[in-house]
């Protein structure tokens, strides 16, 4: 249905453009410069009007049309048969399968009638929408051609159209974000009607495995997220202890010490690190790093879990080095050479210059790089699933197994779920926590950047 409509729309938009431009040339006659706008702008003016009107018709008309088709199809059934969403969906699937000729078994008369009504309504709507679209588009072209006079400010009108298109694009992005947040908030509220927010936020135990039978032990489940937050923080801190210094120092090396040739080799290699799929890093952590740490730990007589926060944190740190180094390298490079010259001319050495002038000047960018790396670490799931385990231990011992917020979300939603159990819903509450955590990080980063921002020019 929509394919034809969009083809018609494209044709009418083009027609509008050429007719508009041609009419404008006709109005101008031989005297160039009499028109307020160039002929092409008159064409664009009409094309934009056609596009706007036909898009509005589609956006409003298509949902109405499909609603009409569905109600016609379901009208063949008894209202009681299709009262529930689940049954409606099943009936619709049957109808569509029958029309497509892939229905299994012998259809009932009722289903045949429904399919007939459904396809009749479909073709009515198909023709209706397309014909209405053509008429509307043609009407707009006709109306637009009538408006073309030498005085018409087509150029300014088109400028307004451009502005609204851009506005609409950013509107879509913002509305989508708001929609996602609202849906998470909504489901989380659902969860909080089952589990108190206090227990959730301050509870020290996490075991969401709600039992199947009410008389089983621990049937209620425990939803305290403190162990998850602690695990997330522990792994993030370990990862940043690895990635922070290594990333920053390699950025300084690349930006200030490396010759262009070395730089052109080293930088891409570092960026390859960012391209390794996290699953691969995950099994590297689980199969190589974790046993190594365990072996070392045991040789010192330490008790190391086979899955440890340290293994996950180290490998995650490797993963985010490129985020720190690549961005920091860019911001260090962006520090004006004149500042370095000023410092050298004062008799400063290279490392003094870097420490006292270049890094402070690049600080806002470096902070952003770190914040980005931290968000990556907090949001990373795969490595932790594989290397740090699922045990929600409340500990700051890097040699113990821990788990993180994202890992738990993943665990909660994998496999068959009842949608209204506290266990499943708790994933949304965790998502909400993660969202606020990242929001807070970004806010802090923004504040730091604002505080230290300096203008050069």
């Amino acid at each position: 249905m929509s394919g034809t409509y969009f083809a018609i729309m494209a044709a009418l938009v083009l027609a509008g453009f050429f007719l508009g431009a041609q009419r404008a040339r006709g109005v101008r006659g031989d005297q160039a410069g009499m028109l307020h706008s160039l002929p092409a702008y008159h064409g664009l003016y009409i094309a934009a009007a056609v596009l706007t009107v036909m898009m509005v018709i589609f956006v409003v008309g298509a949902p109405l049309a499909s609603h009409y088709v569905v109600s016609q199809g379901l009208g063949a059934f008894d209202p009681s048969e299709v009262a529930e969403q689940l049954h409606r969906d099943a009936a619709l699937r049957d109808i569509q399968n029958l029309i497509a000729g892939i229905y299994q078994g012998e259809p009932s008369d009722k289903l045949k009638a429904a399919a007939a009504a459904y396809s009749a309504a479909s073709s009515l709507v198909y023709w209706g929408l397309n014909i209405f679209g053509v008429l509307a588009g043609a009407a707009v072209i006709f109306w637009g051609l009538g408006r073309i006079t030498p005085e018409l400010r087509a150029r300014n009108q088109f400028e307004r159209f451009v502005k609204y298109v851009l506005l609409a694009s950013s509107g879509v992005a913002i509305l989508t974000t708001i929609g996602i947040v609202l849906s998470v908030v909504f489901e989380a509220m659902h969860f909080f009607s089952k589990v108190s927010p206090i227990d959730f936020l301050f509870g020290l135990q996490w075991s969401p495995q709600t039992a199947m039978r009410a008389d089983q032990v621990g049937s209620s489940g425990a939803f305290g997220i403190v162990p998850l937050i602690a695990g997330t923080l522990l792994i993030t801190v370990i990862a940043m202890l690895v990635a922070g210094p290594l990333g920053l120092f390699s950025a300084i090396y690349m930006a200030e010490y490396a010759t262009p040739r070395i730089r052109s080799v080293v930088k891409p290699i570092l960026e390859i690190l960012a391209g390794i799929p996290t699953v691969v890093l995950g099994f590297f952590a689980a199969l190589t790093v974790a046993p190594l740490i365990r072996g070392w730990g045991q040789s010192f007589g330490l008790d190391v879990a086979s899955e440890s926060a340290l293994a996950a944190g180290l490998v995650m740190g490797m993963m985010i080095i490129p985020f720190v180094s690549s961005l920091s390298d860019d911001v260090i490079n962006a520090v004006p050479q004149s500042l370095r010259d000023g410092s050298y001319a004062m008799g400063a050495t290279k490392s003094e210059t870097i420490k006292k002038v270049v890094l402070p000047a690049a600080l806002p960018g470096i902070v952003s790089a770190f914040m980005l790396a931290i968000s990556r670490a907090v949001g990373e799931t795969m490595i932790v699933v594989m290397a740090a385990g699922l045990a929600a231990n409340l500990t700051f011992n890097p040699l113990a197994a821990v788990t993180t917020v994202t890992v738990q979300i993943k665990t909660l939603l994998v496999g068959d779920q009842e949608f209204d159990s506290a266990k499943t819903l708790s994933a949304f509450a965790l998502g909400l926590v993660l969202f606020f955590f990242t929001l807070a990080l970004n806010y802090i980063a923004l504040k730091i950047v604002q505080k230290y921002r300096e203008q050069y020019d």
Binding site: T259, P336, S338, L339, R340, D341, G342, S343, Y344, A345, M346, G347, A348, T349, E352, K356, V357, P360, A361, E454, Q455, Y456
Partner: protein, 271 residues
């Protein structure tokens, strides 16, 4: 370094060079950027306690030679300097010489004001801090205030020493850079077109300042403006296509240039 002197400086040395002690002596200096020969066999004597101006059309090597005096050219990988430059009789390209110490003795002011993204106070305190000039906080404060006063900036900024140096106007920024340079009490101050980014009023202030500083420092200034050279300098050197064409007392250069090229330049025929 070739220390043999091939070309002696002209016998009829400028008056100012005879009146004042010699500060910087350059002999047979050549500078190359890779293949490009930017300075060709240059020799000059620059007197102490005076302002020497380098003039000449763009790209003739004024900045290049200026940057050879504090070895800022070392920071450009492709750049190579041969010949002999002495300050107070000491070869500055000598292997045993510490570049960092050399630069501490030579202040430099750049074409575009380049205050560090730090407070006004920290900008001036930068040199004294890295060279350990101040024994304590009071010492440092004293140095900062004196330098700002010498640079004629103190009155304007005394209430906001903790504000960022980059928040000042262009002319103030340039005076801050001068204050930063004189805070380490250098012997020589090199200025590369210090007024080219400034308006006429700010330029006039800097010129006054240069005139005051002349008592205590050896100042070398590159300038695009011949009027500026005439106003502030006592010695003028005219560069053309990498050659030092003529050097003499400023009055003589502007009233009776010996070389045809100098004459053409100062009468505005090219450049």
């Amino acid at each position: 370094m070739d220390t043999m002197i091939k070309t002696p400086v002209a016998d009829s040395a400028p008056r100012i060079a005879r009146e004042r002690p010699l500060k910087i002596k350059a002999r047979n200096v050549d500078v190359y950027y890779g293949e490009k020969h930017a300075i060709n066999d240059l020799s000059i004597d620059i007197p102490d306690s005076a302002v020497s101006a380098f003039i000449g059309p763009s790209g003739c090597g004024k900045s290049t030679f200026l940057r050879s005096i504090n070895r800022m050219n070392d920071t450009i990988p492709s750049c190579r300097v041969t010949g002999n430059i002495e300050i107070d009789g000491r070869d500055i390209y000598d292997r045993t010489l510490d570049v960092v110490q050399l630069r501490a003795r030579i202040g430099m002011v750049f074409q575009k004001p380049n205050p560090f993204p730090k407070s006004i106070y920290e900008n001036v305190a930068y040199g004294p801090r890295i060279h350990g000039f101040a024994r304590n906080k009071t010492d440092l404060e004293e140095i900062v205030v004196t330098s700002l006063k010498k640079a004629g900036l103190f009155e304007e900024v005394k209430d906001r020493l903790d504000h960022s140096g980059t928040s000042l106007s262009g002319g103030q920024q340039q005076r801050l850079c001068i204050a930063r340079a004189i805070a380490v009490n250098p012997e020589v101050i090199l200025m590369d077109e210090p007024c080219s980014a400034l308006d006429p009023i700010a330029t006039a202030r800097i010129e006054e300042l240069i005139d005051e500083l002349r008592q205590n420092f050896c100042i070398v200034i590159v300038t695009h403006s011949m009027q500026q050279a005439a106003r502030v300098s006592q010695l003028t050197a005219f560069f053309h296509l990498g050659n030092l064409v003529e050097v003499g007392d400023t009055d003589d250069i502007f009233t009776a240039p010996k070389d045809k090229r100098t004459q053409d330049y100062i009468t505005g025929r090219f450049g």
